[in-house]
Amino acid sequence: TSHEHKLNFRKSKEACLSYIQDAMLQKQWKRAAEFLTFYTESLEKDFSTEYMGPSEMIWRIGTEILCHYSHSSMKEFNSFIEQMKTLGVKRYLKVCLEHAFHLLCNGRTDEAYQNLSLAESWRFGEQTTAQDKELKLIQAYRGLLDYYSWSKRKNVLLEYDKDGFEDLSVEQEMHSSFRKAVVNLKEIIQIPGVWDLFVKCYVDLLEFYGDHDEARQVLSDYAYNSKFPANPNAHVYLYQFLKRHGEPKKSLISVLKILHDIVPSHELMVDFHTLLQKSKKRKKRRLGLEVIFAALDYAGWKENVKAWSCLGRQFKQIIISEKHLDWIKQEWNSRKDWWPAFHFSRYLAKKNWQENESLAYEKALVAGILLGKDCKYFKYISHQGCKDQKKRFRTLKKFVNKHGPVYLRIS
């Protein structure tokens, strides 16, 4: 006879674990802690080959409970984590890393730094190579904290500078932090991955000490190295750097072009458009129109006054110069079916007028040109604007009326 109902150690602990999980899901931390007390003896029978054994369970569950349970103190947490570190040598560095994160989240930067330094010097035969990834992360975060202390000291020096003071010891410390930081930061960004924060800090350091070439190299690598995952931020950082250093527009445009390809709705698209409009080249200006239309395809841009104003300005330019009306036609072709409902409904007209007159003005211009003076949106807005005797709306009305046939030419 099989005694499946027989209560044994394993079943008893399984039941205990499910009580813990239930309590945690219902945020009953005290109850979870209570059952965890009885679960801990599983450690003495940690022979399981399961994916997650008792020691890992206890580490993760215990961490959750201590984080959420208001009665626990940082000291308790630390002592708990120190015990967890001794439990699983295969997990040692991971525990150290997460411990450091926790300390940082609680503002204990110095302690976090100490922990990371200690972890960095850990050696355990084969395990050291097996946990190589975690070790690199630990070094990287320590580098980050070195940057942070560098930054603090830099600010202190700047303050002193204002008041005309000098402090050699602070300066020395600052340089020392710099040296420590660059080593680790440089290491980590060489590994394919997303290292936005690390890259920014590293570049900041390089810029401060005047190594612009290296900085540019780093940023270009980060943006263009095909081994790295596609990351819009990389291009943004590069753009910002180039802009800071007064690079020619051509370089800026080439960077932003890639950004446009990856993320047409990026907030820098307005800047991009402005850059493009300044160009003498026709192709660039054509691109500009494409860029701004593409941005406004996204719901997040619906109420972006600047974007609408850019589009409106380019429209005016095109109309007044009487050149390249076909550009507008090309762009509008794929949009004429859905933009009216998307941007220019009567409901939106009322809403925009109520909430943001400038927005309404800019949109009305675009609507008037694309759809004519009889379209819902333009009618409503210009009526409202003229009723309020706002001068610019009268000007707008005149303009659209004059160039009214434009829409005929393009639809």
Binding site: H5, F9, Y19, E34
Partner: protein, 573 residues
């Protein structure tokens, strides 16, 4: 006892020293023969072992004594007997009954009290000494035990040798244990000798209780074990300091699951047969284990009307399960089915409930409404029993208690302070782990406010208590069954005319191990509820009670089930 002439003075005048050795009273010559002193106390090996030649190995460093597995079990039994005594069993339990059963077992299993087969050299692989390299000494002649007896040593009948028997231990099994014969104990060929195990200690206890006809059923015993009133889990903690446990001993003495009723019961049957015990003392109608008595107890505990007792007695009488011959345990008699007193009594009550209430998920509720109606007009008599009310009260209590029990099971602490390890190498790791566990228990215990382990509940025979003093009407003992009975020919009979059988045909026990099987979905919910209630009280699976119910029903309705064709009386000569 010993009548050899002294080598020194040729006298035959032997005495025994405190150390158990024989000495000549005339010339004070001490010889190496020792007398075995059997005592249920655990005392140093020097007295308990018989040594003929060779050196007595003294304690080596802190390794402790050399002890045999059966000594360990002897100790366990002693502790259990003391606990039973503390629970109210009579003192004979420990010093006479249990002790004698144990001795008989040792004799039958040839571990002691027996004549050694002649000329056979007995070797025992002693426990590994962690400081020596086992490989270099594959077969250390163990210093204790090169025992060989010849037939001429007739006086050895009363002596015993605690060696393990037969056969050479394979040299390749250099397994370690604190006990001398741990590895031998675990070897398979012990089946016919009924190898001793932890669950079997409870079989011994139950057998002793049964012999003395103590008011404790097997389910009571097992419940007391789980509640911690009877040493079982971690009982090795009480072993003397010098009796070191490690390695294979853990497999023998460490328990990692709660004993199961069936297992303990069946082992007891095997044990009684193995020991060739005679018929046990009679179970008569004044014994606690008699179904009439147990039914009374269970009716009270289930909060059912006392009047139901009349009905249970009637059923017991009708199917003859109250008879002494049926109830008394006769190990030698293989044809009779052995009685589980507690399960039997519970099953009788279930049958009675079925007789009166049908329990088909319809009738019992209708009947309850009838009783309710009658209660409205009922001024003189006490309240009539209403199934519905009883169900509500019991269900909520049962749910609460079951939930408590489930949580207790999840909170069970299996480990103890005394650390155990398979080998000396593992010792430090085990101790370290233990320390971490204790720290964590303290930390999270404080956090949740449950540092102190819950107090052991006082041992009680009753798990559910219902008091008639409660004015909220939740005690049904005094309720009358008149609400559901009718008068017929001056007798009160059940209004219910029907009955449904749990099973039309019983299984063959030999083939599938049981006489009947239970699947909750196949039966009415009320029936399942009642099974669940007794299942909780007895701490056994509902299927065991169900099986017993089937057997009782088949006895009760025997004539209808096994109808034989009528014969013409006129033909008889």
């Amino acid at each position: 006892d010993y009548h050899e002439r002294c080598v020194q003075c040729s006298e035959v005048n032997w005495g025994v020293t405190d150390g158990g050795r024989f000495y000549c009273r005339t010339c004070h010559n001490v010889i190496e023969r020792t007398r075995e002193v059997v005592n249920t106390d655990v005392i140093s090996n020097t007295r308990v072992q018989t040594i003929s030649k060779g050196l007595r190995k003294q304690e080596k460093t802190d390794e402790g004594w050399e002890w045999y597995v059966c000594e360990g079990f002897q100790f366990v039994l002693k502790k259990q007997a003391e606990a039973l005594e503390a629970l109210g069993a009579c003192p004979q339990m420990k010093d006479e009954i249990l002790c004698n059963f144990w001795r008989r077992y040792l004799q039958k299993s040839q571990q002691a009290y027996c004549n050694r087969p002649a000329g056979e050299a007995i070797k025992v692989l002693s426990g590994c000494d962690s400081s020596t390299d086992v490989d270099s000494e594959p077969e250390r002649p163990s210093l204790l035990h090169l025992l060989s007896f010849s037939e001429s040593d007739g006086d050895l009948l009363t002596d015993c040798s605690f060696g393990s028997s037969t056969g050479k231990v394979s040299e390749s099994t250099s397994v370690c244990s604190g006990s001398v014969d741990g590895s031998l104990h675990l070897m398979k060929n012990q089946k016919d000798k009924l190898r001793m195990s932890m669950p079997m200690t409870l079989s011994f206890c139950y057998m002793a209780l049964l012999w003395l006809r103590e008011p404790m059923t097997l389910s009571d015993l097992l419940r007391f074990v789980v509640e911690g009133h009877i040493p079982y889990l971690n009982v090795f903690q009480c072993f003397p300091e010098k009796m070191k446990l490690y390695g294979l001993d853990l497999k023998i003495f460490c328990v990692e699951s709660w004993p199961v009723y069936e297992e303990v019961f069946n082992k007891m049957l095997q044990l009684a047969a193995f020991l060739e015990l005679p018929r046990f003392p009679d179970i008569t109608d004044i014994c606690f284990l008699h179904p009439d008595m147990l039914c009374m107890k269970y009716l009270m505990e289930a909060n059912l009307p006392d009047e139901l007792h009349n009905w249970t007695c009637r059923v017991v009488k009708k199917i003859h399960i109250g008879e002494t011959d049926f109830l008394t345990f006769a190990p030698g008699n293989k044809s009779t089915r052995k009685v589980k007193y507690d399960v039997l009594a519970a099953a009788v009550i279930v049958v009675v409930l079925k007789l009166l209430f049908l329990l088909d998920d319809h009738y019992e509720w209708l009947l309850s409404d009838v009783a309710e109606e009658r209660n409205k007009n009922n001024k003189e008599d006490g309240p009539y029993f209403e199934f519905k009310k009883w169900y509500k009260v019991i269900k909520s209590s049962l749910d609460v208690e079951q939930k408590k029990l489930d949580e207790e099971k999840a909170k069970y602490l299996w480990r103890c302070e005394k650390p155990l390890f398979y080998s000396a190498k593992k010792k430090s790791k085990v101790l370290k782990r233990r320390q971490i566990v204790v720290n964590l228990q303290n930390q999270f215990g404080k956090l949740s406010g449950s540092v102190q382990p819950a107090e052991k509940p006082n041992p009680s025979s009753f798990q559910l208590n219902w008091s008639e003093e409660n004015t909220n009407g939740s005690c049904f003992h005094g309720h009358s069954l008149k609400g559901i009975l009718q008068e017929k020919c001056g007798l009160l009979t059940a209004m219910n005319p029907d009955y449904w059988l749990c099973t039309v045909k019983l299984c063959t026990e030999k083939l599938c191990g049981h006489l009947a099987h239970y699947r909750e979905l196949d039966f009415p919910q009320s029936y399942h509820f009642v099974l669940r209630l007794f299942s909780f009280l007895l701490r056994i699976q509902p299927s065991y009670i169900h099986e017993e119910v089937c057997v009782i029903e088949h006895k009760l309705f025997n004539k209808k089930l096994y109808k034989k064709p009528k014969y013409n009386p006129g033909r008889r000569k």
